[in-house]
């Protein structure tokens, strides 16, 4: 097992407080909250307490929280559900070009039902400019979806402004908050969004627990229908242990976030400052200031992401990449392409996401280990050889690719 864990975006450890809170519900308090008998009593209380904890975490009314099983489910419910709920008012949807696949694919699935989707472009730092959003909105736009922050490049969007703008044009706005919760304070009321998706995993809660905030009056067509759980917005027996864990994690994170956030911010700043001094030809991705604390994303030119990850792993460092290989597709991350990177550069992406327990020693270790790895892989790289000879390693190939695909 690596000792330096820089992949909190992929999975966060469950905080012990949350596990402790879950235990009774994994053992004797196993009842169904809808039961009439006493086995239902504790679970129903626990369910509503978790709802309160989570509502407080994002400054929302308790009644506005719907539990789901993943951020992907929350995004699908919001996109598909809100579009279908408003289809009589219009059939145009606007999303940013750097949304998570669960938003992207939900939007494109709606095209098969007769909706039209416009993707708003972002600038080279991944920012959705209000001006660009305004250009994309049409009179028949019913729904806008812009993430709060990016897990791939760390950029935080000017969400409150985008929300205001959407509302001026009578469009609802959904936001995917998966990357933001647990890193920055979230206040959905102040942000003014109509719905907000997030999952327990981003703040040391259990897997299988997530939520969708629905502003009072926001009523999506449900995705999973059946029983009357979650006011009919999401059928299925409630996963009380996971919901309880999510509630506890939200409560603890809320009280510690300022401190965690400051520390993670300082550590990511260190990397962002020191890495370019140690390694040449790297591209820091995302916004230099408007970015998530504890988030570092870069491209190390001429070497491929997965090869770096495997080498880091050998040195006890766990990290991620947006390269095609790591995503199990043949295409580089659409996010990295959207900010204007060449495909070949996007293949060399490295994403480091810290957590509340990341230390300066972790950073030291990383700073010591990455440069020799880069050297070794570049020594094998035909692209680096070309670069060293003064040739352009990308140009011709990038062009042939764009023609070819």
């Amino acid at each position: 097992m690596p000792e330096n864990y820089f992949d909190h975006a992929a999975a966060c450890p469950l905080m012990p407080e949350a596990f402790e809170a879950m235990k009774p519900f994994l053992t004797d308090r196993f009842g169904n909250p809808h039961s009439i008998h006493s086995f239902g009593t504790e679970p129903v209380k626990a369910l509503e307490q978790a709802r309160e904890q989570i509502a407080r975490f994002i400054n929302a009314p308790t009644t506005s929280i719907v539990f789901t099983a993943s951020a992907s489910e929350s995004n699908n419910l919001a996109l598909k559900g809100l579009a279908r709920a408003r289809e009589k008012e219009g059939r145009h949807i606007v999303i940013s070009a750097i949304e998570h696949q669960s938003v992207l694919k939900s939007a494109h699935a709606l095209e098969r039902l007769g909706f039209e989707v416009t993707e708003v472009k972002v600038d080279e730092h991944g920012i959705v400019h209000p001006k660009e959003l305004e250009k994309a909105i049409r009179p028949d736009t019913i729904l806008v979806s812009v993430q709060h922050a990016s897990n791939e490049i760390g950029t935080i969007q000017p969400l409150a402004e985008l929300a205001q703008l959407s509302h001026q044009h009578t469009a609802l706005i959904h936001s995917d908050g998966t990357a933001a919760t647990g890193r920055i304070p979230v206040d959905v009321t102040r942000l003014g969004v109509d719905s907000y998706a997030f999952s327990a995993q981003s703040f040391y809660g259990p897997k299988g627990a997530a939520a969708l905030y629905l502003k009072t009056g926001t009523r999506p067509v449900p995705l999973i229908e059946g029983g009357v759980q979650e006011k009919g917005y999401r059928a299925g027996t409630e996963d009380i242990p996971s919901i309880v864990g999510m509630g506890k994690a939200a409560e603890v994170t809320r009280s510690r976030l300022a401190e965690w956030s400051a520390k993670m911010g300082r550590l990511s700043k260190r990397l962002l400052t020191e890495l370019p001094r140690k390694i040449d030809q790297i591209v820091l991705t995302g916004h230099p200031e408007q970015r998530l604390p504890g988030h570092v994303s870069l491209c190390v030119e001429f070497i491929e992401g997965e090869a770096m990850l495997l080498s880091l792993d050998d040195q006890g460092i766990a990290a991620a990449s947006g390269s095609a290989c790591t995503a199990r597709t043949l295409k580089a991350s659409h996010v990295l392409l959207a900010i204007g990177l060449l495909h070949a550069v996007a293949q060399s992406s490295l994403v480091l996401t810290m957590g509340k327990d990341t230390t300066d020693e972790d950073i030291d270790h990383f700073l010591a280990e990455l440069p020799p790895i880069v050297d070794r892989l570049r020594a094998m790289s035909p692209l680096y050889a070309k670069f060293k000879k003064g040739e352009d390693p990308y140009e011709a190939r990038e062009r042939s690719f764009k023609g070819g695909h």
Binding site: M380, S381, P382, R397
Partner: protein
């Protein structure tokens, strides 16, 4: 994810580099798709006396390159042209399904270098 053999070749790849005045050069793949390999071969008396490669790519791509170079070295042109992607994957103790295209690339790059040599030979005649 990878077999021990793959990791071994990834960690200590054999025959990395370029050959000065190679007899054949093959380049396949496209960095745009995440993998690119160049193979250099030296041929004496129809035998691949030296094979070197450079690879931009994932762990499998690097391991495949290394394995292909080892398998080819010392073989005749005809034997080397018969090395298939399946052979390479097998020698490596298997590859994950989504990585099989890397083994294609490795064999392709070797064959491209050999064909380059053969064409030059034809040209020389």
């Amino acid at each position: 994810m990878y077999s021990e053999k793959v990791m071994e070749h990834f960690r200590n790849p054999q025959n990395v580099g370029e050959i000065e005045n190679p007899d054949g050069i093959g380049e396949v793949g496209n960095p745009v798709c995440g993998d690119m390999m160049t193979f250099h071969v030296k041929v004496e008396d129809n035998i691949l006396t030296d094979v070197k490669f450079k690879t931009f790519g994932c762990g499998a791509a690097i391991a495949v390159s290394s394995m292909v170079s080892e398998m080819a070295k010392g073989k005749t042109i005809e034997q080397a042209l018969k090395i298939t992607n399946a052979d390479v994957a097998k020698e490596l103790g298997g590859l994950p399904p989504q990585k099989l295209h890397c083994s294609n690339l490795g064999a392709d790059a070797l064959h491209a270098a050999i064909r380059n040599y053969l064409e030059k030979q034809k040209g020389a005649k």
